[in-house]
Symmetry: C2
Subunit: 222 residues, 2 copies
Amino acid sequence: MGSVRIYGPPFSTAVSRVLACLVEKEVEFQLVPINLAKAQHKSPDFIKLQPFGQVPAFQDDTTTLFESRAICRYICEKYSAMGNAELFGRGGPAERASIDQWLEAESQSFNPPSSALVFQLVFAPRMGLKQDPKAVRDGERRLGSVLDVYERRLGESRFLAGEEFTLADLSHLPNAHYLVNATERGELFTSRKNVGRWWEEISSRPSWKKVVEMHKEAPPTA
Amino acid sequence: MGSVRIYGPPFSTAVSRVLACLVEKEVEFQLVPINLAKAQHKSPDFIKLQPFGQVPAFQDDTTTLFESRAICRYICEKYSAMGNAELFGRGGPAERASIDQWLEAESQSFNPPSSALVFQLVFAPRMGLKQDPKAVRDGERRLGSVLDVYERRLGESRFLAGEEFTLADLSHLPNAHYLVNATERGELFTSRKNVGRWWEEISSRPSWKKVVEMHKEAPPTA
C-alpha cells in the first residue's frame, strides 16, 4: 500500500478531491509536494506524469494517472473492499450509473461556476490578481441555478445518488468548502434547506475534516 | 432491447455521443425527438427525466439517466458483451483507468474550448445570434494547446487510451466533427500529424458514419 503517491498541494481543489477519496477508502499514501508558485507543475519531469501540467498526478506501482475524477474511480475499483465499500456502489450497472450521472453533474454543471467563483474570490486575491466582477456575477447566477436543481433532488433522497454517501457527493466537497468557509457566498448553500442539510452532513465526515487539516499543514504560501 | 430510449435531436453533440455509443455496442434503441426550438427540453415532463433541462435524457426499462458520458458508461456496463466489447476495456482497474482519464481529458480539457467554438462558429449563426470574436480566439488558443498534448500522446499510441478504439476516442467525435466539417478551423486537427491520423481513423468508423447520417435525417431546422 505504501506505493500510492499523489503529487500536488492539498489546497488545490482537484488534489483535495483525491485526498478525500484516499482517506475515505483508508488507502495509505504518500503526498509529494509540488510548488505551484515555483511552476514545478510545468517542469519536464512533472509533464511526464501529467501531460497537461496540472495537479494532481497519481502513481500506484506502475500505474500513472491524471484527472482527479478518473483517479477517484480507479481508487474505488482497485481498493474496492477497503474503507468505505459503498463509495462507488456495490450493485449493478443502474446503481453505478446513478453515482456516475451525479458525478458528471458535478463535473459539467457544478464545477464550472463554482471553480470560477473559488478562483475569483479566494485564489485571485491571494495571488494579487484583480477580481473580475462580471465573472463573479455570472458564477453566482449559474451556480444558483444548479443548486436549485440540487435542492429538489435532495428533497427526494438523503444524498445525490440515493441514500448513501458516494463519490458523487464527495466530489463537491473541495469547491463547496472554499465557497462556504472562505467567501461571503456560503448562503448559496446554507439558504437552501436541503442543500444546507446535505452540505452539513457531507462536510462533517471525519475523512473531509482530515483533508481540511492537511490544507492547514500546507497552506498556499508554503 | 427495444426498451432503450434516447430523447433529443441527433444534431446535439451530447445526443450524438450517446448515439455513437449505442451504434458501436449494437444496442437497439428508439430515438424520441425533442424540439429545442420549441423549448420542449424545458417542459415539466422533460424536466422529470432530465432535471437540468438539457438533452439527452435516456431510459432503459426502469432506469432513467442523464449526462451523456454517464449514459455511455452505463451502456458499456449493461451491454458489456454486445457489439464492440473493447469499448470500455476488458481488463482490470488500470486499463479502465486509462480510458477514464482520457474520457475526463475530453470532458475537462477538450470539451470546454471545442464546445465554445462549435457554438460560436456553427450554432450561433444558425440561430441568428452574433458571434463573439474574443470567445472564438480564446477557444482556438485553448483548443490548440490541448491538441498539442494529444499530438504527443498519439505519437506514442494509436488511440488515446492505448492500441484500441475506446469510449475516450468516441467521446471526441461530435465536437471534432463539427469543427472539421462545418467550420474553417479543421486545420486545428488536420495540421497536426498524429491528431490528423487519429481523426481520420475514428471518424471513418461505420458507427460514426451512421450517426452523421442521422444528423442529415433530422437537421436543426426540423
